[in-house]
Subunit: 276 residues, 2 copies
């Protein structure tokens, strides 16, 4: 018997579509159904066999034993009540949002069997066209249970991601948002700010360094607006830490303080080597 | 007949070694000779056939018709007088340094046939072990002639890089340093500062975004200390521009000013798309 009869995916984009492909490859459900606001995303997801059935309408989710919310952060929060009205009792609900405090606070109230999740597997690419069955292989999935989280549902969700090849760990929603502000949200702001800081006419002289550093600046602006607005204080703090480090470089360079500069450079080089 | 009889390379690392391999593949010289401070770099360069002969001693360069200085910026400047004493008349001298004003000012005085060059083809990898014959294929080589530059030598050097598969353009040393401060030197500072700003214990939660953004932070610290110290004012200005952009993001996020945030994000996304 499959772990789930029917799994529903809301948002058949890069993450949702990849989850569909991975679920089917791993044999985790008899049937995968999908909901999207875009008819062509559903058509394409069906053609790629990421889902068996799709709809523009949430009511299709009435069959699901597990529903995965793989939409932008604010969409996830906005559709919760409407989704609740169609779900059958016992349905587990998870999400894949990039910020967790706002989502977990809202959805833990709405759904008795909600588990907040964040598989760290996105990229600047988006849409079902870029979906891959192996997107979660070796990726880390952060699960953010709270005091009220159902332990059986939590265990099932943990096993679900591990079956897809992901590693899992648990963090509180606050710890998740604080850490991700530093390792993901602030670096995204940096990439956006960097490409904005370079005069357009000079881009022709860029090497692979600038290309790599600004790759994520091509990320979807709507998705990122929602991430930045649902994790404000942690991101502002992380940008503050970044500003202090950058100012240290600026001062050391301006003063030709080679001793300080060497210390900062060696620290960076050694720390980067730990990030295999 | 080959364009050059003997080409000498000073510094048989990533750039120097790759030049040796590329010169031999393109048949640009009858013989390639190399100088390094490290005996094993010479041994390895000979074994890889990047050079035919190598020495720890500059005097070997007395045979060369073209000498390429592929060493760190300050080393290039430091050894100029010693090199001048051994070169034969008519020998063209070029360099591959990442900053041009300091080098061109010093070396234009020392060598009658000096042409400043900067092939934009490095990476965070270094050493002869990473040398590749195709490193310059499709790369841009910026040539920085000044009023006193010999026109025949300039033409020959331009053709030299184009034969290796590079595109060439000319800029004044000041324009080169201003532009490169923005598209390369400041972004390197950003990568160094970013990895220093992220608490070490949180690196385990990093995705591909942080990895890509800090890849160049693994660059050689000695090389970068010299680049940063020989292009101080332009880099300090470029960091200033970056600080203003980052502050704009911080303020928009802190104020939840979604209108400004959206404008900044869309600008970044569209600008990044132009950087193919």
């Amino acid at each position: 018997m499959k772990p789930f009869d029917t799994i529903g995916i809301i948002g058949t984009g890069l993450i949702g579509g990849s989850l569909g492909l991975a679920i089917k490859r791993a044999g985790l459900a008899r049937r995968v159904i999908g909901v999207s606001r875009h008819a062509d995303s559903i058509t394409r997801a069906r053609r790629m066999k990421a889902i068996d059935n799709g709809s523009l309408n949430l009511s299709i989710m009435g069959d699901a034993d597990l529903v995965i919310l793989a939409a932008p952060v604010e969409t996830i929060i906005r559709i919760a009540d409407k989704l609740k009205a169609v779900l059958k009792p016992g349905c587990i609900v998870i999400d894949t949002g990039s910020t967790k405090e706002a989502i977990v606070r809202a959805l833990s109230r709405t759904f008795p069997l909600f588990v907040g999740c964040h598989p760290i597997a996105g990229s600047e690419k988006r849409g079902i066209a870029n979906a891959r069955a192996d997107l979660f292989k070796g990726a880390l999935c952060i699960i953010t249970p709270v005091r009220t989280t159902d332990r059986a549902a939590l265990k099932k969700v943990k096993r679900f991601f591990e079956t897809l090849g992901a590693r899992t760990c648990t963090l509180t929603p606050v710890a998740h948002d604080t850490i991700l502000a530093s390792v993901s949200h602030m670096p995204h702001c940096l990439a956006f700010a960097l490409i904005n800081a370079v005069p357009a006419a000079w881009l022709a002289y860029a090497g692979s360094g600038l290309r790599d550093m600004t790759r994520i600046a091509a990320s979807d602006s709507k998705v990122w607006e929602e991430i930045l607005c649902t994790n404000k204080s942690a991101i502002v703090r992380a940008i503050g830490a970044m500003e202090r480090q950058l100012r240290a470089f600026k001062l050391a360079i301006a003063r030709a303080d080679t001793k300080t500069l060497r210390r900062l450079l060696v620290q960076a080089q050694q720390k980067r080597q730990r990030l295999a």
